[in-house]
C-alpha cells in the first residue's frame, strides 16, 4: 500500500514538471508576449520594453524557465495585473470557499447518485429504472450555468427560499478562523452564521452537483447490472448466500470499482463547473475569481491558478487511485 502511494507520488513529479513547462511556454505564446501578462492588454510599447529589460524576457528560454521555476519554488507566483495582489494570497483566501462548494456538491452527487443508480439497476426495465435513465440523461446534457440560472430563478427569485448570491448575508457578522464558513460557524458556535452559510451553499451545490450526480447514477446502474450477471454472483447464490449479504458484500462491493474511478473523474468536472456556478451565484471562490481573470485576461492569475488547480486535481486522482487499491485487492502492489 505504501509502495503504491510512493509510486504514484513519484509519477506526480514528471507530470508537474511537464505542466510547468507548458504553462511557462503558454505565457510566452500569448499575443504580445509575457510582458502583456504582467502589464495587461493595454500596455504601451515603452512599458513593454522596460519590462522585457527588467525581467530578462529577451534571455534564452531555458534560462528564463529556470529563473521562473526558482521564483515558484520560493513561493513567488507573481501578482495580479489588475489588483497587484500576490496571486498566492488571492488563491488561499478563496480556496476554502471552492472546496466547501465542491465537497458539498460531491456529497450530493455521490450520496444520491449511488443509491439512485443501485435502486434503478435492481428494478431494471421497470418504471423507476426508466425514469432514472431519462432523468440522468437530461442531467448530463443541461449546461451547468443554465441549470444554475434555473435554480436561482425558481428558488431564489420567485420562491425566495434561498439567498441568490454570495456566501453569507452582508448583514451577518462572523469570524472566520478557517475560511470554511459553515465549519467556522460551528467551531465558533455562531450557529446562525453556520446556518446562513449553509443556505447560501444549497443552490450552487445542487447546480454544480447535478451533472456528476447524473453521471454517477448512470455508471452505478450499468455497473450493478453487469456485476449481477457475473459468474461469481451466480456461484454466491449457488452456495446459498442470503439476499442481504449477496447484495452488500458481493454485488455492491464489486460494482463500486468503476464508480470509484468515475468519482475521481468528476472532480475535474466540478472544478470546471465551479468557475461557471460561482459566477452565476456571485460566490466568492477561486472559480468566480478565475472567471474574472479570464474576462480581464489577467494572465499572471490564470497561470498560477491553473497550476494550483492541476496540482489539486492530480492529488485528488492520486487519492482515488489509492482508495481504489483499498477496494480492489488486485490493485495492491505486494
Amino acid at each position: 500500500m505504501t509502495r503504491l502511494i510512493l509510486q504514484r507520488l513519484g509519477l506526480l513529479i514528471p507530470t508537474l514538471l511537464g505542466l510547468s513547462i507548458l504553462l511557462f511556454l503558454w505565457v510566452r505564446a500569448l499575443p504580445g508576449g509575457p510582458a502583456t501578462a504582467l502589464l495587461g492588454e493595454r500596455a504601451t510599447p515603452e512599458a513593454v520594453e522596460r519590462i522585457n529589460e527588467l525581467y530578462g524576457f529577451s534571455r534564452p528560454l531555458h534560462e528564463q524557465y529556470l529563473a521562473w521555476m526558482g521564483q515558484l519554488l520560493q513561493g513567488n507566483f507573481g501578482a495580479s495585473t489588475r489588483t497587484q495582489q500576490p496571486v498566492l494570497e488571492e488563491f488561499f483566501a478563496r480556496f476554502p470557499a471552492t472546496i466547501e462548494l465542491t465537497v458539498v456538491a460531491l456529497v450530493i452527487a455521490v450520496g444520491i447518485g449511488i443509491p439512485l443508480g443501485y435502486v434503478a439497476a435492481r428494478h431494471q426495465g421497470r418504471f423507476l429504472d426508466q425514469t432514472t435513465v431519462v432523468a440522468s440523461l437530461i442531467g448530463v446534457t443541461i449546461p451547468v450555468f443554465a441549470l444554475a440560472f434555473l435554480l436561482k430563478y425558481v428558488f431564489a427569485v420567485q420562491l425566495g427560499w434561498f439567498p441568490s448570491a454570495g456566501r453569507l448575508d452582508p448583514s451577518m457578522v462572523a469570524t472566520h478562523p478557517t475560511g470554511f464558513y459553515v465549519l467556522d460557524g460551528i467551531l465558533t458556535r455562531e450557529w446562525d452564521a453556520a446556518w446562513n452559510a449553509l443556505t447560501h451553499l444549497v443552490l450552487p451545490a445542487i447546480a454544480l452537483g447535478s451533472i456528476p450526480l447524473a453521471i454517477i447514477a448512470r455508471i452505478t446502474r450499468a455497473s450493478v447490472i453487469e456485476v449481477q450477471g457475473a459468474d461469481y454472483v451466480r456461484t454466491a447464490r449457488a452456495k446459498g448466500l442470503r439476499p442481504p449479504r449477496l447484495r452488500r458484500r458481493v454485488v455492491l462491493r464489486n460494482a463500486m470499482l468503476p464508480v470509484a474511478t468515475t468519482i475521481g473523474l468528476q472532480v475535474g468536472l466540478l472544478l470546471s463547473g465551479a468557475v461557471l456556478t460561482e459566477t452565476v451565484f456571485a460566490f466568492n471562490g477561486i472559480g468566480s475569481y478565475l472567471a474574472n481573470a479570464i474576462f480581464n485576461l489577467d494572465y499572471a492569475v490564470l497561470q498560477a491558478f491553473i497550476l494550483f488547480i492541476a496540482i489539486a486535481y492530480t492529488l485528488v486522482n492520486l487519492a482515488v487511485d489509492v482508495s481504489y487499491g483499498l477496494i480492489d485487492p488486485r490493485m495492491r502492489v505486494r
Binding site: 509519477l11 456461484t235 449457488a238 446459498g240 448466500l241
Partner: protein, 573 residues
Amino acid sequence: MTGSPLLSLRDVEVTFTTEAGSLPAARGVSFDVHPGETVAIVGESGSGKSTTAAAVIGLLAENGAVTRGQILFDGQDLAALPHSATSRLRGSDIGMVPQDPMSNLNPVMRVGDQIVEALEDNGVARGAAARRRAVELLEEAGLPDAERRARQYPHEFSGGMRQRALIAMGLSCRPRLLIADEPTSALDVTVQRVILDRLDELTAELGTAVLLITHDLGLAAERASRIVVMYGGEVVETGPALELLRDPQHEYTQRLLAAAPSLASRRIQLAKVTGLAAVAARDLLSVSHGDGVDAATEGAGGTRTDSIIEVSGVSKVFQLRGKGLFSRTEAFTAVDDVSFVIPRGRTVAIVGESGSGKSTVARMMLDLIPPTSGSITFNGERVGGANRAAEVRFRRQVQPIFQDPYASLDPLYSIYRTIEEPLRAHDFGTAAQRRERVHELMDDVALSPTLLRRYPAELSGGQRQRVAIARALALNPDLVVCDEAVSALDVIVQSQILRLLADLQSRLGLSYLFISHDLAVVRQIADHVCVMQDGRIVEQGTADDVFDQPQTPYTQMLLDAIPGAGLELGVAS
C-alpha cells in the same frame, strides 16, 4: 439402483423468452440420480446440458423458466416451489462447482471469507468456528498451506487452487447433491486429473450424489456410473456408462463416440495390443504411422524424407517490465534451447500445458517474433533475415491456423474478401483468376460458395475454421502451423476438421506443425511428437514411441491424464 431417487427429472422443459420469441432450450428431459450416485450429462455446446443443471439448482437466467414437467428433489417438486424455498435448498442441500475457476470467485474478498459466508448463511457455523471450518474444508479439498491461503485473495491463486476452493465451497455445507458443471475443462490436463480424483474421493467419502456436466464422453465414462446423452435440448440416450460406450443405440451417441479424441486414443491403444490394425486405422489420421498399423493412405509427398524446416537451439527470452517505477526489467525464458525438424509431408506435434512455451515456438516458426538465439532454417534458407524478397517467399510457403476461429477472421471482411486477401497481397493472377481460385478453395474445405458474401459473425465455429484453412491454403503453402487449431471446437466438428486436415495433407503434400495441449488429438494426427514443459522439449520421438513407451515421468503423467485411459472399450472390428 434400488430405493427412491434423490433427484428425479420428469419430462422437464425449459424455455427462454427472447426478442425473437420463446426458445425451448431443453425438452422432455427425464432422468434419475440416486443417493451417492454419480450421473453425467454429456453433450456439446447448445445441447441443453448446462440449462438442465441450472434448472435443478434454480439458477436459470432471468428470461428462462421451467415450463413443463417436474424436478423432484427428495420427493419435493422444485419447479413448483416458490423462489424463497428453492433458495433455501441451495448450498445446504444442493451444492455447485462451476465451470470457470477464473470468474467464479468474488475478486474483492478473501477466499476463506467466501467459505465462511456460505457456512454462516446456511446456519452451519458462525464466527471463529466458521473460520476454522473454512480452513479445514480447504485442506480437505487438497489445498496445501490452507491456513495461509484462506487469508489470500483469488488473484493470488492459480487456476487449480481456485478450483479446489470452489470445490471446498460447493461441499462446505455437506449437500446431498453436488452439481459439477464442466468442473475442470478450463484447467490443464494434469491438474484436471488430480482435481477430479479429489472430488471423487470426497463425494464418495461423504456419500454425496454428483450430477456431472461434461462434453467429454471419455471423462463421463470414467467418472460416472450412468450417462445421459443430450443433443439439441433433448435426451437421446440414457444408460449405465460402460454399456452405453460399448453398445450405443442412438445415432448421435455413435457419432459422439467415434469423434471423442479421448476414446479414439484409447481405441488406438487397445487395437495395438490386440493387433487389430484396421480398427486403429479408422482413428489414426496421420499420413504414416509406425509399425503394425500401416494400412492407410500413403500421400503424394509421404515418401520423401528431407525436412522442410529445421529448428536448432532456439530460445526466446522476454523482458518483463517490473511493477515498480524504478525496478528493472526481468528476463523470462519462454523457450529454452529447442531443436526439432519437420520432415516434408509429415505432421509434427508439440504438446504441452499452458505456459510451456509451445505457442511461442509457433510464433517464431511463423516469423512473427524473432528468436533470441538459435536458428530456424526453412527449405535451407534462414528465417528472419533482413531480405524482404526472402521474407515474402517465406510468407507464401508458411501459413497459420489459429485456435479461436472467431478471432482469427477480420469481422469487417466478407468471406470472399478474407480468402482473396492473400491472393491479392501476392499479386495472384487477374480478378477472374482469383475468383476461380477462391471457389476452388471453398470446394477444398467443403464449404458452399453461397457463404462467400457472408461475414464471420454469420458462420458457425466449424465453418469459420474451414474459412481460416481455406485462407491458409490460398497460396499453396508447404507448411501449415496449426496453433490449437481444433481446441475451441465441439468434438464432432473437431473430428471433421481433423479429418479435413489429414485429407488435405495427403492430397496436397502439406507439412503440419500441430500445436496442442490435447494429447488425445495429437495421438490421432501426429507422426512425430515433441513434449514441452517449462520452455524445454523434455521428450521427442515418433508418435508411437512417445505414446507407447514414454521415457519421462512428465510424459507419462500427461498420458495418464487423458480421460478414459483405463476404460475397457469394445474394439472388436
